[in-house]
Symmetry: C2
Subunit: 284 residues, 2 copies
Amino acid sequence: MITTLKGRTTQVEISPERPTAIIGERINPTGKPRLAKAISEKNWDTLRQEALSQVGSGASIIDVNVGAAGADETVILPEAVKVVAEAVGAPICIDSSDPVALEAALRVCPGRALINSTTGEEKSMAAILPLAAKYGAAVIALCHDEEGISGEPEKRFAVAQKIIARAREAGLEESDLLFDPLVLPVGVGKTNGTACLATASLLSGRLGMNLTLGASNVSFGLPDRHVVNNSFLCMAIWCGVNAPIVNPGGPGLRESILAADLIAGKDPDCMRYIKNYRSSRQRQ
Amino acid sequence: MITTLKGRTTQVEISPERPTAIIGERINPTGKPRLAKAISEKNWDTLRQEALSQVGSGASIIDVNVGAAGADETVILPEAVKVVAEAVGAPICIDSSDPVALEAALRVCPGRALINSTTGEEKSMAAILPLAAKYGAAVIALCHDEEGISGEPEKRFAVAQKIIARAREAGLEESDLLFDPLVLPVGVGKTNGTACLATASLLSGRLGMNLTLGASNVSFGLPDRHVVNNSFLCMAIWCGVNAPIVNPGGPGLRESILAADLIAGKDPDCMRYIKNYRSSRQRQ
């Protein structure tokens, strides 16, 4: 299964056979007062730099979220999306809980965007899936519904199947969906990691779906979070996650992903791994 | 399934529910001329220090291999095993391709040792499995036979089933076996990593076996080998490997394993992860 995203100048094909595609998560003002201020004041240079920096660190898709900036999202989200799309050629992941803001941004976003996100809640699917169909976008689908996030992988899988059915009714294909198997912090529950990984294995193994994952949530509250994040990503890649949402500049993250891809057979002749090694040596 | 090993003073229980047990691989003179010299000259301080250092880095079982030291293994292996067993309380993994040397070492080794190793070859099984039964030892079993190392996980699994049958005939239980799903370097074949991991999943998923793995072979010939090794170990732990043979002092290795255990639900309340974080901060 191939999920194709298009940016202003570059195209990304997400599929189980291809190397992991990194969705850069850094343009999100939640918990970042300086970024919130920059966005609300339309200081777009900050956004441009953050987008370019993530592409430089290996992101091939850029998430744009301005929800916590304190500005009118329906106005500021399309502006931010345009700015980022002009700064980088990469596809955009338009990230908002407001369908009106999403539609405003989809109208101005070049190429084929990724919407972040629908859940399995009827209200969410009713608002988001038709938008994806109307604008020809792909959609991230979170594996929870009105009953919350289940601790049982089979229940999360059932939510995904419901979303697939509704997506078909809305005129979408399975390849238009990127499922997020969802991870809660392992610091608050010892089965939170396994529930996510087992769900990922079900979605990739049974249906061949492409999978995203807001991976860094796994380490919330722990010291040396990057160690947990990087180990988790390697395990998640083995379970089928192939387009995680992460900070591509996190310590050791790119190297961990390249090594996991190599081990998973997604880097023939080790060329990506070795190329990154050489260029990181040159930077030193 | 629980595989219990006993050292002079400590006992290790290997099971899918428990944290990963590290088998320290460093006492092996292959490619280490100084260690070879120390062993052939019976300079035991070197061995004692290497054993203690590995325990300090998190190994709970110590592999002892003197095969490449250029000395008579049937004499030197039992001496080396005694020295290491006296230096550390941990169980010993007695590592030799010579059944006579293995038996000489088993005779003097305190506790319950781990034999490294049998293969699925009839000649190997006929020599090694009765030794394990006679001395009440556990055995590492490599998933290849007279036909070599198969690229197909189902064939490696079939070799494991054959070894289980022969082990039963020799009076052993499944819990006396630690299977090694075998990894060849990913640098020489892009499916070498996936073949190993898929075999591990079959052995753990279908049979609940405990699994070892000579993990660092995966990165042979590549730069920054520790990056590949650490990513691979995280993936292997998810696939059921719970007693890898590694260099416990490798850069970032212990942290990667602790994080993978945490994610895999083998570290309730994150106590092992956090304790290691605190003690590594104190060392700095």
